[in-house]
Structure formats: structure tokens, C-alpha cells
């Protein structure tokens, strides 16, 4: 690992004096049941080299056959990114030697991607929208996975031996490449992060991938360059590979801006290179120089015929596109009357679907938010679980709120009922019945408790008779205590006053 002597420039200083330009390549693994060119299954986490066939192992004589579902999903992604869908496109071979690449070439798309020239609007935290232009989206196959054993931190350097798992080899990928993202200045790291996040949400909305960053379903390569001013030609870029969390995307861009500013300040030139992101130290380092391996000798894949998407089929897919996450958020926020902050909290907590379902089941938006962001968020937090994992359904939350709205439960009782639901005791109605938690507003039952409380505190009764209503609360408290909180407090108050004055 080379040590680079050039000092980093303070970020704020760097973006004051340089204009950063971004380019982002996002790879998404499609969630198809079988591989891109092969019937091998794609189950995650299976024992090594069990999700393979002669085709995904690249055995001599084997041939690829295109997975139609993967093509459909690539077109969906292209459409969601407002791209043109190619009238005809083909696959190409990208040739290079590496142990995780079974055929020693990757089947990809080169000069004829399936989708090109689109855009996507990216919302930043403060509500600003940045439009990111898309250069292309193309289909390709993933490589296998090398594990280096015996070296430091699983790196190849110093390893005793390496293991290769071809389960991932041939899993369908779509690579989405932006045009240069300019004019975002100091917000470049935030834009980069929000862009990747927007794509992640989009993949999930389209149902084409689980899009789990931690599993490597979504991987980003981040290109960064600096120029002295927005009018200057583009500077030399670096490409930081495999940045695999939203936070890392932001940090990697920030680091590269500081680093490149340092290089430029020193009078040196930025080297066009691939760099590695180090999650632990938060820095990038130069990748191996592969000057002789850079020529991939692309040529059209002779084992596959061109793909000619039927126009009616493409239009059918376009018509079937689900609402995109940003549009949905805007629509729901308006319908629910949430503030920006409230909406952001709900989204960040992953509660959007739950709140929506709770409202659909009859709860008011305010009540739905109160439950999911309040009591349930606390419970989830305590249990280290996600909201979705809690054993309560949006319908049950709506039912609970219905009981409150009908005056049959107060807040305290409702929380007890919810605890019962979470404990697996059944629906809110069932918990109410089983635990006997309903508010008591029946005068017969209440009067006995009221009389008992009044008899126990004659001095208080005197005060009230004297016109001092303050101590009424003490009597109510005693009644509530006696009824384990189930008394209808308003009715108790009325009864107390009737008795004292009567």
C-alpha cells in the first residue's frame, strides 16, 4: 500500500476553491430466481459452489441463454429512470483473467446498452431536488467471490491461499451509470448519498431486488474530480470502487474531495486510477496498477443473439410501473398533513408502509403516527427489532385506536392492551375482554367506589362543600386506584360532585 505524502485539505476550504464533479456507477443484483444466463438458483448464503451448473462454472462447451425475467427487470429499471429503451441491443464479452471469473470474460453490454439517456430526481434532506442525468443502464453477470485465507484482514496480500465461491457467478446485475453530476458544489457528498439511496428505494419499489446494501445487492463505484471553477473543463477523476453503504458513499466522496484538493494544491496532478475505500479508517488508497489489464478486448458475444424488446411489451411495462418512492412520499405527506419533520421521521424509521396500512385500516393519520413512532418505536428499540418485526399488525393498531376513539379505552388502558397484543394474547378486542381492561362508566359500579372514597376522606368532602373544588382530584384518584384505572374519569368527577352537593 503506497503512502501518500500530500496533506488533506479541510473540506470546507476545498469546496470553496474547487468545483467537484461526480460520476456514479451503481450495480444492483436482480432478485431473479435463476441466474442471468443459466438456470442455476441464486439463493443467498447457500454453501459455497452449490448454486452452480456447467454454465455458471463456465465449463468447456457450456453456453449462455438469456434470462427473460432479468431483461424485463432491466427494462423496468430503465423506464423508472426515464431512459430510452433500445430498439435492439446486444451483449459483449469483457475479457480479463481473474480466478472468480469462470469463463475469463464477463458477459456484459458495451456499445449497445438496453437503456440509455434518462434522469432521476433526487431529494436531499432539506427538501431540495437535484436532477441526476443517467447515461445508460446495462445488463451483465456478476463474478464469483474470492476469500483470502491467512493474510491480514482477509486481504490477498500475505494470504496463504484463496478460496473461490462461484455461487454468485452469473447472478444478474444491472449497472447504472450517471452522466457527470455538476453544479452541486459543497453538497456533492450528500447528493451522492441521496442518489444511491434513491436508487435503492426505487429497486425496492419496482420489486426487482431486495436491494440490501449489507449483502452487496447494491454496490457503488464513485468517480470524483475537481476543477478550479464550474466553467473549467473537467478535471482528472478517480474511481473509488465498491463503496457499499450510504454513509460510506458520502464519506468517500468527501475524502476524495479533500485529498484531490491537497494534490492539486501541491501543484501535482491527480492520477486517473481506481481507488479502494477503507471503511475502518475512512480513507481511499490507490488500487493495483493494472496498465496491461485495462484493455478488455470487448467484442459482441457470439453465443447470444441480439435482444429486440417488443415495443408493445415495453409500453405495457411502462404502464405497469409502480409509483416511485419520492412521489409516493409527497402524495402521502399531503394527504396526511404531516410536517416535513414528521414525515422524515416516519420515513427514516421505516414506518411508511405501516402507517399507510394503519390509516387504510381506519385510524387517523395523526393517531397512526403516534402509535408507530411512539409506543411501538420504543418497544422495537428496547427489543432491538425493526417495526416490521413486531408481532402487531397495522389493522390491530387501527382497531386499538378505534377503541380509544369510541371512549372504551383511555391512553393508559390502550397501552396495556397493546402490551397484551404484543405478548401474543390476541387482537385488541380479545385482550380487552381477557384482561377486563375496559373503561368502567356504569354508574352502579362507580357509585360504590365513589361513596367508599368519600367516606374515607370526610375532610375533603368538607372542603368541596365549602366551594373548594381542588381536592376533587384526590377523590377521583382514589376511585381510579380502586378500579385499577378503568374508571371513566369524567363520569367519576360528575358523580363525586353530585354526591357531595346532593
Amino acid at each position: 500500500m503506497t503512502t501518500e505524502a500530500t496533506p488533506l485539505v479541510d473540506y470546507d476550504d476545498a469546496v470553496r476553491r474547487y468545483d467537484p464533479v461526480l460520476g456514479i456507477e451503481v450495480h444492483v443484483e436482480l432478485g431473479t430466481a435463476s441466474k442471468m444466463f443459466d438456470g442455476a438458483p441464486t439463493e443467498f448464503g447457500a454453501p459455497p459452489n452449490t448454486q452452480t451448473t456447467p454454465v455458471s462454472l463456465g465449463l468447456p462447451g457450456s453456453l449462455p441463454v438469456v434470462n427473460e425475467k432479468a431483461v424485463e427487470w432491466a427494462v423496468l429499471i430503465g423506464l423508472a429512470l426515464n431512459c430510452e429503451i433500445a430498439e435492439s441491443c446486444r451483449f459483449a464479452r469483457k475479457n480479463y483473467f481473474y480466478p472468480d471469473l469462470p469463463k475469463a470474460y464477463q458477459i456484459s453490454q458495451y456499445d449497445e446498452p438496453i437503456a440509455h439517456d434518462g434522469w432521476v430526481d433526487v431529494e436531499l434532506e432539506d427538501g431540495t431536488t437535484v436532477r441526476v442525468e443517467i447515461e445508460r443502464a446495462h445488463m451483465e453477470e456478476d463474478a464469483g467471490k474470492n476469500t483470502h485465507v491467512g493474510g491480514a484482514a482477509g486481504r490477498i496480500h500475505g494470504a496463504e491461499y484463496s478460496l473461490v465461491d462461484y455461487n454468485r457467478a452469473g447472478v444478474p446485475l444491472v449497472e447504472i451509470v450517471t452522466k457527470p453530476i455538476t453544479g452541486v458544489g459543497a453538497r456533492a457528498p450528500e447528493v451522492a448519498r441521496a442518489y444511491v439511496q434513491t436508487l435503492r428505494d426505487m429497486f425496492r419499489a419496482l420489486g426487482v431486488s431486495e436491494a440490501r446494501m449489507e449483502r452487496g445487492n447494491v454496490r457503488a463505484d464513485v468517480n470524483v474530480s475537481l476543477r478550479p471553477s464550474p466553467d473549467a473543463p473537467l478535471g482528472t477523476r478517480t474511481e473509488t470502487k465498491n463503496v457499499n453503504s450510504f454513509r460510506s458513499v458520502e464519506r468517500a466522496v468527501r475524502f476524495e474531495i479533500s485529498r484531490q484538493a491537497g494534490v492539486l494544491d501541491s501543484g501535482a496532478a491527480v492520477v486517473q486510477e481506481t481507488r479502494h475505500w477503507h471503511e475502518d479508517t475512512g480513507i481511499t488508497t490507490p488500487g493495483r496498477v493494472k496498465s496491461d489489464a485495462e484493455d478488455y478486448r470487448y467484442f459482441p458475444e457470439p453465443d447470444l443473439v441480439p435482444i429486440v424488446p417488443d415495443r408493445a411489451w415495453v409500453e405495457g411495462l411502462r404502464a405497469s410501473l409502480p409509483e416511485m418512492p419520492a412521489a409516493r412520499r409527497r402524495r402521502l405527506q399531503a394527504a396526511w398533513g404531516y410536517s416535513d419533520a414528521e414525515m422524515r421521521d416516519v420515513v427514516n424509521a421505516g414506518a411508511l408502509d405501516l402507517v399507510e396500512a394503519t390509516v387504510a385500516a381506519g385510524a387517523s393519520p395523526a393517531a397512526a403516527r403516534k402509535w408507530w413512532m411512539g409506543e411501538l418505536a420504543r418497544t422495537a428499540n428496547e427489543q432491538g427489532a425493526s417495526l416490521e418485526e413486531l408481532p402487531v399488525t397495522p389493522a390491530q393498531v387501527a382497531e386499538l385506536q378505534g377503541l380509544v376513539d369510541a371512549g372504551r379505552l383511555n391512553d393508559k388502558l390502550a397501552r396495556q392492551v397493546l402490551a397484551g397484543v404484543l405478548a401474543g394474547e390476541g387482537s385488541p378486542q380479545e385482550v380487552v375482554a381477557a384482561r377486563g381492561l375496559e373503561i368502567v362508566s356504569d354508574d352502579g359500579a362507580l357509585l360504590a367506589a365513589v361513596d367508599e372514597a368519600l367516606a374515607a376522606q370526610p375532610d375533603v368532602v368538607e372542603k368541596i362543600r365549602g366551594g373548594n373544588l381542588g381536592p376533587v382530584g384526590a377523590i377521583i384518584g382514589a376511585v381510579m386506584k380502586a378500579t385499577r384505572g378503568q374508571a371513566d374519569a369524567a363520569r367519576v368527577r360528575e358523580l363525586v360532585l353530585e354526591r357531595v352537593k346532593g
Binding site: L59, N95, F299, D303, V305
Partner: protein, 503 residues
């Protein structure tokens, strides 16, 4: 029972169906013949006597039980070693795959097994099908049964020699630039390169994916048709496989055998003949034209001006694709693995050492050529230009087929040359395929059928048809075969010298 090996596949099929012989008898006769002559011919790299006899016994039992069987059931076959066979070694003639036993069958092998043809073994070939003499095999030369000092053609010299030496009535070959047809021509056998996409490539170890095509090798035109019909037809595992049903090649062969070609227009390709073609080869070709005219065919001359560039274009496209197809032989997963003699043992260095040790010179030559041709900065000039030539060759064919139903030429410019004669002269070796390569570039089908001898060595006659019209090949070739055999008083191979039996 020695004469069983002299029978055609069709004749064997008839006898088997009639119950005159058992498949075990037929298979054993061929295994005995292999044992007797293959030490001299060396057509086989691997003989699976046990497996073949087991299939034969199974066929006999099923026949005895009255089961409906494929017409060729029980007729033994040999398979070129570039086709993967489950549980049977497959080397493609290369050290780099020595000892590799594939875990799966090629589609055509599946079909052969489903029809229950006993598989005798795997035949010798130029390494990865690169060559015209089988001298580039890593496992020794195959000898031409007509003259053991001569080459059997290539790359499928093993399949052609096996059939010519009566070691097998049928064989599978593959043809990227002539590797079925040229060996057929120089061994006096019949070989067919079907329309590209007509026979599945799934399980063929690829040399040049856009050119490779498997096909039948046999001693008669009808036998070739029977085998073609068995292995041909759509395969969903090969994206370049044609969806169309196979034309009736067997019917066409039978019809042609009547010797009547009235109304058929034969186009003589001006560019495939004349200079560079051995005089005897030219003479046999002229005589065959007269025979075909006598059969009622009309002969027209056609010109295919871009065929002149076909060889050059082929030697860019083929190595380019081969350089990529052969990249997977890197010592990481199967086959040979060689660690560097000294220095660190890294993946790259193991790959380099393995490929350095495992590939022969001709393979290295083509991998280097192809790597160069595909390199950035050279792609347009080489691969790009070659693809343009390919389009022009296709147009030449289209224009020629406006004037003629089939095109005809000598299959190869010469008869079998001596072993070693051209080994050090790649250009001379490449010129063997000058008449066969255009068909591969255009994807059209071609057949080579024996049409006589020149100084005691067989000469081949090539018929080319439009894509998907493979039936025309069979009709014309069967007519020529019938009329020539009438003239010769039997098959050409009957004139071959008897091989010495070694035991």
C-alpha cells in the same frame, strides 16, 4: 462376423431391426476392428468398450422385449473429442484438458444416448480443432487409412479415419472452417457441415462460436442424413440454435439416390478452383460435373468475388473468438494446473504457467493473433474489417443462390499430403481450407462426398446450399454417389488398401 464393419449404418440398422444380428455383435465387431487397426491408424484417443457394450446389450434386451426403438438404435458411433461426454474423458486434443471428465453431456450426445447408439469412444483431432491435419493433437498423429504416411485431414482427422478404416460406421465431427469436410475429402468419406444453428453447439468445446458447427461423418450420404436427422433440430440451451424444423434430409438422400437431378441448377464457383488446386483434383471435379449433367442437372458458372478475402477474414474472426473462448483454461477449476518453477505462486503466475505448458504452438499462435486483433486501437482495422468481409461473403452467396440451387467446388485443393510436410508452414496449412471456409463465414451448409482418386488418394466434391436448405446437399450428393458407385462398381473405399491387422 468381420464383415459387419463393412456395412453402412443404414444396412446395420436394417439387420438389427430384422433381428439378423445383435447390437452386441455389431459393437464387438467394431471394437475388435479398433483393437486390430487403431494401433496403426490412431483414430481414437479413448475407447469405451465397456460402455458401448452395455448400451448394445441394453438395446438388444429392449428389442427382444418388443420396445419401439430409434432406427439407429444399436448402431455404434464415434465422437470427436471436442464434444463433451459425461463420465468419458474429453480433451479436445489438448494437454490442458488431459484427465478431465465432464459432468455433463453435449445436447447432441444426449440425443445419441437417448436413441441408444453405443458410443465406441472419442476421436483424435487437432488441439481445440485448430488445424487441417490432426498433427496438432497433443496425443499423437492420426494416420490416413489410404496411406499411413499421410495426414487424415483435420481437425477431425480421427473421426474421418475411424470411419474410413471401418472402426466405426458413424462419427460426429465439428467444422469451423472445414474440419468435417476436408478430412472427409482426403479419406474418401462423407462429411456434412449443417447450416449454422442446425445442430446444437451446447457441449461443443468452442473454438470460434460464430463459426463452429457439429455434423455427421460417415461412408455414405444416406448414413450422414440419418445421423444428421438424429442430432439436428432446435435446442433451447443454444441461443443460436435455429427454431425451424430440420428439412427432410433423409428423404432427400433417398430421392437423390435414384440418380435423377432433372431441373437442379448447379453453380460452379469460379473462385473455388483453378490455380492452387491440384490437377487431379480439378480433373475429378470436371468429370463429376459431367456425371451430374448426365443426371439431368444444369450447370451454370457463378462468381463470388469476395471469396478471395474469406481466408484472411476467417483468420481474424476465428482467432479473435478463440482467444476469448480459450481464456477459461486457466488452471483454476479443471484440467491441467501448473505452478511456476520458481518465484511466488500467485493466481496470475499459475495461469501463465498452466497455459504456457498446456497449450501447443498452433493454439498459442491463434490466441496471440486473436488477442492482438481485438486489442483497443486495432479492433476496427482487424475484427471490424473482417466482419465486413463476412457480410460481403454472405452477399456473394445470396447472389449466387439466385442463379443456382446449390454451389459446387472441389472440397480441398489437394489430396492428403505427407505427415510433417506442411507442419512448419502455417500458411500452406491454412490454404487447405480455402474452399470450405466461405460456408462457415456465411453459415450455409456444405457436404463433401468422394468423387474419385488422384494417384491412389481420395478426392472430395463439395456441395453448398442456402441456409436451412440442407436437404439439397443430400439430394445432389446422393445422386453423384449413386452414379459414381455405379461407374466404380462399388464404394470408393473398397479401393483402399487393406490395413495390416496388428495381432
Amino acid at each position: 462376423m468381420g464383415d459387419l464393419t463393412r456395412l453402412s449404418a443404414a444396412a446395420l440398422a436394417e439387420r438389427l431391426a430384422a433381428g439378423d444380428v445383435s447390437s452386441v455383435e455389431v459393437t464387438r465387431a467394431h471394437l475388435d476392428r479398433i483393437a486390430a487397426v487403431d494401433p496403426a491408424v490412431h483414430a481414437f484417443l479413448h475407447v469405451d468398450a465397456e460402455g458401448a457394450l452395455a448400451t448394445a446389450a441394453d438395446v438388444d434386451a429392449r428389442r427382444a422385449a418388443g420396445e419401439d426403438l430409434h432406427p439407429l438404435a444399436g448402431v455404434p458411433i464415434a465422437i470427436k473429442d471436442v464434444v463433451v461426454t459425461r463420465g468419458m474423458p474429453t480433451t479436445a486434443g489438448s494437454r490442458i484438458l488431459e484427465g478431465w471428465v465432464p459432468p455433463y453431456d453435449a445436447t447432441l450426445v444426449e440425443r445419441i444416448r437417448a436413441a441408444r447408439l453405443p458410443i465406441l469412444g472419442k476421436t483424435n483431432m487437432d488441439e481445440f480443432a485448430m488445424g487441417s491435419s490432426t498433427e496438432h493433437s497433443a496425443f499423437g498423429d492420426t494416420h490416413n487409412p489410404w496411406d499411413l504416411d499421410r495426414i487424415p485431414g483435420g481437425s477431425g482427422g480421427g473421426s474421418a479415419a475411424a470411419v474410413a478404416a471401418y472402426e466405426a460406421p458413424l462419427a460426429i465431427g465439428t467444422d469451423t472452417g472445414g474440419s468435417i469436410r476436408q478430412p472427409a475429402a482426403v479419406t474418401g468419406t462423407v462429411g456434412v457441415k449443417p447450416t449454422y444453428g442446425g445442430v446444437s453447439r451446447y457441449g461443443l468445446i468452442a473454438m470460434a462460436s460464430s463459426l463452429d458447427q457439429a455434423g455427421p461423418v460417415s461412408r455414405t450420404v444416406l448414413d450422414a442424413a440419418l445421423l444428421h436427422a438424429l442430432v439436428g433440430g432446435h435446442d433451447p440451451r443454444d441461443s443460436t440454435s435455429l427454431p425451424d424444423p430440420l428439412p427432410d434430409v433423409v428423404g432427400a438422400a433417398r430421392r437423390g439416390a435414384t440418380g435423377d437431378l432433372t431441373g437442379v441448377r448447379l453453380g460452379v464457383v469460379r473462385e473455388l478452383g483453378g490455380e492452387g488446386y491440384q490437377q487431379g483434383v480439378r480433373r475429378r471435379f470436371e468429370e463429376s460435373l459431367e456425371v451430374l449433367q448426365a443426371a439431368g442437372a444444369e450447370v451454370v458458372e457463378v462468381s463470388c468475388p469476395h471469396f478471395e478475402y474469406a481466408l484472411a477474414a476467417y483468420y481474424l474472426i476465428m482467432p479473435s473468438e478463440a482467444s476469448s473462448n480459450l481464456a477459461r483454461f486457466d488452471g483454476m477449476r479443471y484440467g491441467l494446473r501448473v505452478e511456476p518453477a520458481d518465484g511466488p505462486v500467485t493466481a496470475e503466475r499459475v495461469m501463465a504457467a498452466t497455459r504456457g505448458a498446456g497449450f501447443g504452438d498452433e493454439v498459442k499462435r491463434r490466441v496471440i493473433l486473436g488477442t492482438y486483433a481485438l486489442s483497443a486501437g486495432y479492433y476496427d482495422a482487424y475484427y471490424g474489417s473482417a466482419q465486413k468481409v463476412r457480410t460481403l461473403v454472405q452477399r456473394d452467396f445470396a447472389a449466387a443462390f439466385e442463379q443456382a440451387d446449390v454451389l459446387v467446388s472441389p472440397t480441398a485443393p489437394t489430396t492428403a499430403f505427407r505427415l510433417g510436410e506442411k507442419l512448419d508452414d502455417p500458411m500452406a496449412m491454412y490454404l487447405n481450407d480455402v474452399a470450405t471456409i466461405p460456408a462457415n463465414l456465411a453459415g450455409v451448409p456444405g457436404i463433401s462426398v468422394p468423387n474419385g482418386l488422384d494417384e491412389g488418394l481420395p478426392v472430395g466434391f463439395q456441395v453448398l446450399a442456402p441456409a436451412k436448405a440442407d436437404d439439397r446437399l443430400y439430394r445432389v450428393a446422393a445422386a453423384l454417389e449413386a452414379r459414381l458407385e455405379e461407374r466404380w462398381g462399388g464404394p470408393l473405399l473398397a479401393q483402399a488398401p487393406e490395413l495390416e491387422v496388428t495381432r
